[in-house]
Structures are given as structure tokens and as C-alpha cells.
């Protein structure tokens, strides 16, 4: 890249790597689970690693593995994947101003790397300050961590019994709490989070299809509505 001096590019890359580091550490149990569950669902070690290497979407992978194990059809798996992954449309929309002017190569790479975690560190709302090298550092190091953790899960998969019952999913909860709570700074964001919390629990308990999207969009609407008409200016 010629648009930024090399030293600052490397610096940004490193700062992105550091910013995502807590999330990379927290994703390790989740990756181990993905690797071992893949073997348990009948995938070969290569297929198990390929899931993390080319899909790179933890929640979609874990749900799909459960469905593969239950011998669900391809169509059912893909519809479920589409629902789970639909939140990335929101992320891409929010990052559009920052990423779409970049060259194709950057868009493809950052698009591929656009996980919950990368979105959380790269989208701070100050779009003018978006730094692609920072996002690349965060995205690539997180990708590496996720795949190494999957590999560890594949290697340990046969050695550890009942890995699924260890409660590795708490890692995701801890990470997201650490990301969300500091962002609750005003009435609008508090209402948004509370709405998402209540609706997602309700939808999940009632097994409503698309509950994640319903809860997210409703929460965004409540937060936005409050900031525009009810509360202080956003």
C-alpha cells in the first residue's frame, strides 16, 4: 500500500492485534469446542479445520455441526446459517462508509474477516478515523487464534470426553459483556441493551425462528427512537 507510510501501517496493524487480543484469548475455548465437536459430528480432521479456515463464523459452525450430527438436510442447514449470519449485513452496513471506498483487495479481505469481534473493535463510530491496517491486524490475528484453537480442539477431541458439557460457551458471554457494558453510556444505549436482552431471551425460550434478528432490530429501533425523540441528542 502506498497511501500510508510503512511504519505507521505496521504500527496500526500491531495496535489492532493488541486491541483484539482479549477477544482472541476468550475465543480459545469456543474454538476448541468447534474443533472437537466437528470430529464428533463425523467430519474428518481436514474438514473440521476447513470449517474454521474458510467459513470463519463460530456460531454458524457450531449450530451447523449440531444439525449435521442430527442428519439434517442441506437446505435446512443453509437456511439456519443464513439466519445466524444475517447480523453481518448490519455490520457491513455500519462499516460501509469506511470500507466501500477502499480498493477491491481491501474490501474482500476486511469483508472476509468481519466477525462480531472485529466489528466491536473496528467500528467505534468515528468513521473518518477508520484505519484499514488496524482492522487488518485485528482481523488477521483473530483469524489465526480461532484456527489454532480449532486445531487444538481437533487434536484434543478424542482425548477429552464431554468437552461440550464443560460450559465453554460462557467464554462468548464473558467477552460480549466486556464489550457491551462499557458502551452503555446514556439512556438510549441502556434501553437498547435491555430490549435486546429481554427479547432475545424471550425469543430463544419460545424457540422463535430468527429471534436474534428480531431482538437486535427491535433493540436498535428502541435505542434510536429514544435518542431522537425521547432523550438527549445522540
Amino acid at each position: 500500500m502506498t497511501d500510508s507510510p510503512n511504519s505507521s501501517a505496521a504500527g496500526s496493524f500491531w495496535r489492532g492485534t493488541l486491541a483484539v487480543m482479549p477477544l482472541t484469548i476468550a475465543v480459545i475455548p469456543w474454538g476448541i469446542l468447534a474443533g472437537s465437536l466437528a470430529l464428533e459430528s463425523g467430519l474428518s480432521p481436514i474438514q473440521s479445520q476447513a470449517m474454521s479456515a474458510i467459513i470463519f463464523a463460530g456460531s454458524a459452525q457450531l449450530v451447523a455441526l449440531g444439525m449435521i450430527k442430527a442428519a439434517s438436510g442441506l437446505m435446512a442447514i443453509l437456511v439456519t446459517t443464513a439466519l445466524i449470519t444475517s447480523r453481518h449485513l448490519l455490520y457491513a452496513m455500519a462499516m460501509r462508509e469506511a470500507i466501500s471506498p477502499l480498493p477491491l483487495r481491501w474490501r474482500l479481505i476486511l469483508g472476509f474477516l468481519l466477525t462480531d469481534e472485529l466489528f466491536a473493535i473496528a467500528n467505534q463510530g468515528k468513521l473518518a478515523k477508520f484505519d484499514p491496517w488496524y482492522a487488518l491486524g485485528g482481523g488477521l490475528s483473530f483469524y489465526l487464534g480461532w484456527n489454532l484453537a480449532t486445531l487444538a480442539g481437533i487434536l484434543a477431541g478424542n482425548a477429552v470426553d464431554n468437552l461440550g458439557s464443560l460450559g465453554l460457551d460462557f467464554a462468548i458471554a464473558a467477552t460480549f459483556i466486556a464489550l457491551v457494558v462499557p458502551r452503555v453510556k446514556d439512556g438510549a444505549s441502556l434501553l437498547c441493551v435491555l430490549t435486546a436482552l429481554c427479547l432475545s431471551v424471550l425469543c430463544e425460550a419460545l424457540a422463535v425462528p430468527g429471534g436474534l434478528l428480531i431482538a437486535s432490530l427491535s433493540a436498535m429501533a428502541v435505542g434510536y427512537g429514544y435518542s431522537q425523540w425521547g432523550g438527549r441528542k445522540s
Binding site: 482479549p22 476468550a26 474438514q47 463464523a57 456460531s59 454458524a60 451447523a64 449435521i68 442441506l74 442447514i77 443453509l78 446459517t81 449470519t85 444475517s86 447480523r87 453481518h88 449485513l89 448490519l90 457491513a92 452496513m93 455500519a94 462499516m95 460501509r96 462508509e97 470500507i99 466501500s100 474490501r107 474482500l108 476486511l110 469483508g111 462480531d116 466491536a120 463510530g125 460450559g167 460462557f170 458471554a173 464473558a174 467477552t175 459483556i177 464489550l179 457491551v180 457494558v181 462499557p182 458502551r183 438510549a188 444505549s189 441493551v193 435486546a196 436482552l197 427479547l199 432475545s200 431471551v201 430463544e204 425460550a205 436474534l212 437486535s216 432490530l217 433493540a219 436498535m220 435505542g223
Partner: protein
């Protein structure tokens, strides 16, 4: 069959991430849309973690003996006190795996 599933899933996930980043898509974001989208991170992340914390075996569990709930409260307090993601994540996960 598994390879087809993996490749089709990969294509779906990539499209959902890339599609709206493409400048050829004729979308202009107004100020209101951007303000709306600024709520996407807390909304989506909360909607992902809340069911993990509050539901056990598909039903609401508000007992203090639900380790997910007690450790989630611990994580909330820790991040408010320390403002440090790494410390919060590591301590709350360590306590969780200890009591679980």
C-alpha cells in the same frame, strides 16, 4: 456432502459480510440510518450473549446458583471497575470454570 455443506456455508457467510461493503450497490446512508446503525453492536452482541446467560435447558434460570448468571454479573462488575477487557474476560472465565 460435507464438503458441499462447508463450501455453501462459506459462500453464504462471505456474501452476508461483503455484499453491503461493495460500492456498486446503490445505497446511500443518511444521517438517520447511520444513527440507527450505531446501535447495532450493543444490540446484536447482547442478543447473542443474553440467552447463554439467562436460559438453562431452554427455560429462564434466575437462581444465584446458575453459574452463567453469577459469573456474568461478576464480569459486569469487573469491567465497570477495571475498564479492562482482558482482565474481565480472564478472571470471569477462570471463576466460571472453577465453580462450574
Amino acid at each position: 456432502m460435507i464438503w458441499i455443506t462447508i463450501l455453501a456455508m462459506a459462500a453464504l457467510v462471505f456474501i452476508s459480510r461483503y455484499l453491503l461493503l461493495d460500492p456498486k450497490l446503490p445505497i446511500r446512508l443518511g444521517r438517520r440510518t447511520q444513527a440507527f446503525l450505531s446501535f447495532s453492536a450493543p444490540a446484536v452482541l447482547t442478543a447473542i450473549f443474553a440467552p447463554i446467560v439467562f436460559l438453562r435447558d431452554g427455560s429462564l434460570n434466575l437462581s444465584p446458583f446458575n453459574p452463567y448468571l453469577s459469573c456474568a454479573l461478576l464480569a459486569t462488575v469487573l469491567v465497570l471497575l477495571t475498564r479492562n477487557t482482558l482482565v474481565t474476560v480472564i478472571i470471569s472465565m477462570a471463576v466460571f470454570f472453577f465453580i462450574h
